[in-house]
């Protein structure tokens, strides 16, 4: 069984079909032989009887006139029929006048040997008057053997034909199986290549020729022509990635070009590989992100402990500095006491901010009107803006549906961004400072876009990649935790934060959060 199991599909199919044909043909032959043997025997018996009747009729006159030489001729004729053992010709008196065994001449019918033989009698008459009788004894076993011998004569050449049919069917099936199985073999090679080449280079596992020479337009609008008809179809397929899985499987052009079921399977596999490539890339991205977050978490945890200790120490230092400042008569010492106290407070503020940042945030999601959250956040800083002569503009989309968010956290995000904008405008010393906040609902994507834009100093190009990293700051008294906190909160909402800035001109933060998925699967 194991040996059969290990045979190739080509051999299995060829052998199975050959054996099937053999069984069908041999079965048919045996069935025919079995059914026709009896019929043939009956036909032979009938034929024998007809011959005896005809011969007897043609010699009737000779029997009537006792022409014994002719009667003997009749006997010899009948005797020459295969399987006839004895022949007796009787005259009208019942006396044997012709016999294949001369010892019976002159005797009567009673003396005939009937042992193991079949008997056929034919009565001769003239105008219903009996004139004689012909009695034939024949061996049924001989007759059967004769029929079987004739059947064998047919079966032997038939066996050669059956053999030839089986050989032809074996070769034919082997050929057809080879054609059918080849795409599967190629697919299997592709799968092996997939593991050999590794997931880093999935393209190597795909090798196919363009399905047709004519270019066929991609009806889904993903590419110009269907990747199956392109020379560099693999690159196009990998460019499409996951889209190919979603769109190509329903595409008529793809169905038309991808051939039969097995070829479709191969192409589906290629699509799956391209999709896998897409997912691997996303997974790698997520993995890098997770690593960063893990690192950040570890650092944060450790830093929080240190910060906590520093805070305690700072409390003692600031108290001591205060005492020195109030009780010392030396002006310089009082001045230093003041500096120590102020710096201790500053360090304390930083430490508190850091501790807040490193805390594990557990959002409490509720359906909120995001526009109201924006307005509340802005109202907190409205006076600051007025103090610095900064104009605040709101452009809110009235069609935004209730969104699942943590309103306090989202408020913190907006406050952080607006504070950054105020500082950026102040740094630029802009006379017409403007902060513009917009909200927009992308109905088709079920997402909400919030932008916070200012015409402040902007971000230097080399700093753009660092602004979301903790403790990075360009401000003299900054903690470097504001934007990382923004990033952290938006991440918890399942959204993204992007920044667009031209140093000396403007900065624009764009937040994108999902309406339905907000706060879930984070």
């Amino acid at each position: 069984m194991t040996y059969l199991r290990n045979l190739s599909i080509k051999l299995k199919t060829s052998i199975s079909i050959s054996v099937y044909i053999l069984i069908v043909l041999v079965g048919s032959i045996l069935f025919t032989v079995n059914n026709f043997t009896e019929r043939l025997i009956q036909d032979r018996i009938q034929s024998l009887e007809e011959n005896v009747k005809n011969l007897s009729e043609s010699y009737k006159e000779k029997i009537i006139v006792n022409n014994l030489e002719k009667v003997d001729e009749l006997v010899n004729f009948i005797k020459s029929i295969k399987s006839v053992k004895e022949v007796f010709v009787l005259n009208k008196d019942g006396t044997v006048i012709g016999s294949s065994d001369l010892t019976f001449l002159g005797k009567n019918e009673v003396s005939f040997p009937t042992k193991n033989f079949e008997k056929f009698e034919y009565n001769l008459s003239v105008e219903k008057e009996p004139v004689g009788k012909v009695v034939v004894l024949y061996d049924l076993a001989d007759l059967k053997a004769e029929v079987l011998s004739d059947i064998k004569k047919v079966i032997y050449p038939l066996s050669f034909i059956v053999g030839f049919i089986i050989l032809a069917s074996f070769l034919g099936t082997f050929l057809i199986s080879t054609v059918l199985v080849n795409p599967l073999v190629n697919l299997q090679k592709s799968i092996v290549n997939l593991f050999v080449a590794g997931f880093e280079n999935l393209k190597k596992s795909i090798d196919f020729k363009p399905a047709t020479k004519s270019d066929l337009k991609c009806v889904k609008g993903l590419t110009e022509n269907c990747w199956l008809s392109q020379k560099g179809g693999v690159d196009t397929l990998f460019y499409l990635g996951d889209k190919a899985v979603k769109e190509c499987s329903k595409c008529d052009v793809f169905a038309k070009l991808s051939g039969d079921e097995i070829e479709k399977l191969s192409y589906s596999f290629y699509v799956m590989v391209a999709s896998l490539n897409d997912y691997i890339q996303k997974l790698e991205e997520a993995y890098r992100e997770r690593e960063t977050l893990s690192c950040m978490a570890a650092m944060g945890e450790m830093s929080a402990k240190i910060a906590h200790e520093i805070k305690n120490a700072l409390y003692s230092i600031s108290n001591a500095a205060n005492y020195i400042k109030n009780n010392s008569n030396d002006k310089i010492i009082r001045e230093f006491g003041k500096i120590i106290k102020e710096e201790s407070y500053r360090l304390n503020d930083m430490t508190v901010s850091f501790l807040n940042f490193s805390k594990l945030i557990e959002p409490k999601f509720t359906y909120e009107d995001i526009n109201k959250v924006v307005e509340n956040s802005v109202s907190l800083l409205m006076y600051d803006c007025e103090d610095y002569g900064i104009k605040m503009e709101l452009e809110l989309d009235k069609n935004i549906p209730p969104t699942l968010i943590d309103a306090n956290l989202m408020k913190q995000v907006l406050v952080n961004l607006v504070l950054n904008s105020i500082e950026a405008i102040n740094e630029k010393k802009h006379q017409n400072g403007l902060i513009k906040i917009t909200t927009k609902y992308l109905q088709d994507r079920k997402k909400i876009i919030i932008t916070v834009e200012d015409n402040g100093i902007g971000i230097k190009e080399e700093d753009k990649s660092k602004i979301f990293k903790p403790f990075f700051t360009t401000k003299p008294k900054g903690t470097g935790l504001g934007l990382p906190m923004v990033y952290k909160i938006i991440f918890l909402h399942g959204g993204t934060v992007n920044v667009e800035s031209v140093y000396g001109n403007y900065t624009k933060f764009t937040i994108e959060i999902p309406v339905e998925r907000s706060g879930r699967n984070v």
Partner: protein, 268 residues
């Protein structure tokens, strides 16, 4: 001129090839076999005599007589009785006697069933007799000759008839249709276990080659020479051993055959 040359050529051809010869062969029941046998003989003679020799197979003895009467045939093959009649009526002479199994003569026999109570020719009285032929020497004249010599005539038997052939006569005896059969001795060879011989006739010539004495004596002599110089291949085809010169004493027994037949008028 051309016509004269043509006439000369035809004349020369006629002289060269001579008159056609025809041989009548009296059939004894196997015409195809007999045709094959005597065709070889006719071909041989044609070659030797440098003339066409045709063969006519005849079933009825009267037809043979008729052919000689109308000069349609010049030669014949038949039994002693036929020869005797042809000699008497149409000036035919026996030129050779065929030898079979080394013998130029044969015998007729009277046979009965092996288990028959007929043991001698005297027991035939009051019985049914069948003959192999209605006229031939071996299976008609000789059986009747033996009966006549035993003092038995037609009146002494229940019935006497011809079965047409020796085989028919033998089977009639074996079937009980007849009690006695008069046949050629050689015919009982295959039935010896079923039959017993109760009388055997004197010897007489076998098949005789007869030639009309009306033929050119030179041609007659040529025929005789050809027959006695026949090659072994032709003899093999004719299924005979050779030929013997007919001797006058061979035919002594036939002289009175007509008287014998008169004792059995039903046979004629």
């Amino acid at each position: 001129m051309l016509r004269k040359i043509l006439i000369l050529l035809l004349t020369f051809a006629y002289i060269s090839f001579g008159q056609d010869l025809k041989i009548a062969v009296l059939s004894y029941g196997e015409p195809i076999k007999e045709y094959k046998r005597y065709s070889a003989f006719a071909d041989y003679l044609s070659q030797k005599l440098n003339r066409k020799v045709d063969l006519i197979i005849v079933e009825d003895v009267d037809k043979v007589f008729q052919l000689f009467k109308t000069n349609e045939v010049q030669m014949a093959v038949g039994c002693s009785v036929v020869y005797f009649e042809l000699k008497r009526q149409y000036n035919v002479e026996a030129i050779a006697v065929m030898k079979i199994n080394g013998k130029a003569v044969e015998n007729g026999v009277l046979v009965v069933k092996k288990d028959s109570d007929i043991n001698s020719i005297q027991d035939v009285k009051g019985k049914k007799i069948t003959l192999g032929s209605p006229i031939c020497m071996s299976n008609c004249v000789m059986p009747l000759y033996m009966l006549a010599n035993a003092g038995i005539t037609q009146h002494d038997v229940i019935n006497i008839w011809s079965s047409g052939t020796d085989k028919g006569a033998i089977l009639a005896v074996m079937s009980g249709i007849a009690d006695v059969a008069g046949v050629k001795e050689e015919s009982i060879k295959n039935y010896q276990q079923h039959l017993k011989v109760i009388a055997r006739s004197p010897s007489f010539p076998r098949h005789i080659i007869m030639v009309s004495k009306n033929l050119d004596p030179k041609l007659y002599k040529q025929i005789e020479n050809a027959i006695f110089s026949i090659d072994s291949e032709t003899l093999k085809s004719m299924e005979i051993d050779g030929f013997a010169k007919p001797q006058p004493n061979m035919f002594e027994i036939i002289k009175n055959y007509r008287k014998i037949l008169e004792l059995f008028p039903v046979v004629r």
